[in-house]
Amino acid sequence: MALIDIPPDLTFVALAAVTIIGAILALQARELIYGAVALAISFIGVAGFFVSLDAPYLAMLQIAIYVGAIVVLILFTIMLVRREVGEEAKDSPQSGEGSVGLWLAGLLSLAISGVAALAGPNMPSTLPSGSLPVSELGPTLATQYPIPLIILALLMSATLIGALVLAKVER
């Protein structure tokens, strides 16, 4: 229905708001669990960005892995830490850490927009043309990138075996 075509700028602003506010809340929340939930929301925002950039499979991968597994791990680790440790971290003085971050972000955005304004009409276009449909993702991975796939497998096996050995030793 062409009547409710949402202009792409609105999508971008909404997703950016969700992602950035989630990330800020994740750092500044007074309870660690709130921070983990805000982080999950921020990850879902990133997945929304992948959808708007025409990579739906990557978006689903992001949700399933980051929000589904890694946030669970983070939550579990937060619950492992005793409450006293969490409260100590809250009571320590902030010493202007948040404001330094804001200053840096502000300067960086000023620099980027200055470069963009100076470049003018010679700016390269934002997206390379031609997105990869999902059915092509598998063959491309297997045929054009076999070495990174094997390196990934080795990396994951090493991580897993290391984690298992560590978990065995601690008991």
Partner: protein, 118 residues
């Protein structure tokens, strides 16, 4: 219509129609905190100790395994789609991928069988 837009609309409708199910009863229920009513349920006895600090550590390796095999399963889905249209020799990297990951799986299962705790 863009399917993602349909999903967003569907999600908004669900939240709009089930949100009142939780928020309305809050408004028409008693709101005075009562120490006897709000005590956590422990079959009648008075709860002692911090409710949240007791934790089972013995199943932690399963969580780690889940993270890794989550990634593996996602890669396998990408491969499995085009399996019927690809010649067999282009599946060799993926099969090697699986075999390389069978090693930690086998090690984990060996540990699980040998140790009693997990």
């Amino acid at each position: 219509m863009n399917p993602w837009l349909a999903i967003v609309i569907w999600g908004v409708i669900i939240v709009l129609l089930t949100g009142p199910m939780i928020t309305l009863p809050i408004f028409w229920s008693r709101r005075k905190p009562d120490p006897f009513r709000d005590m956590p349920f422990e079959s009648g006895q008075v709860p002692q100790g911090e409710a949240r600090h007791r934790l089972v550590m013995q199943y932690y390796p399963y969580l780690l395994m889940f993270v890794v095999f989550d990634v593996v399963a996602m890669f396998l889905f990408a491969w499995g789609i085009s399996f019927t249209t690809m010649p067999l020799d282009s599946s060799f990297p993926v099969i090697l991928f699986l075999i390389l990951l069978a090693a930690p799986l086998g090690y984990a299962l060996h540990l699980a069988v040998r140790k009693e705790n997990w």
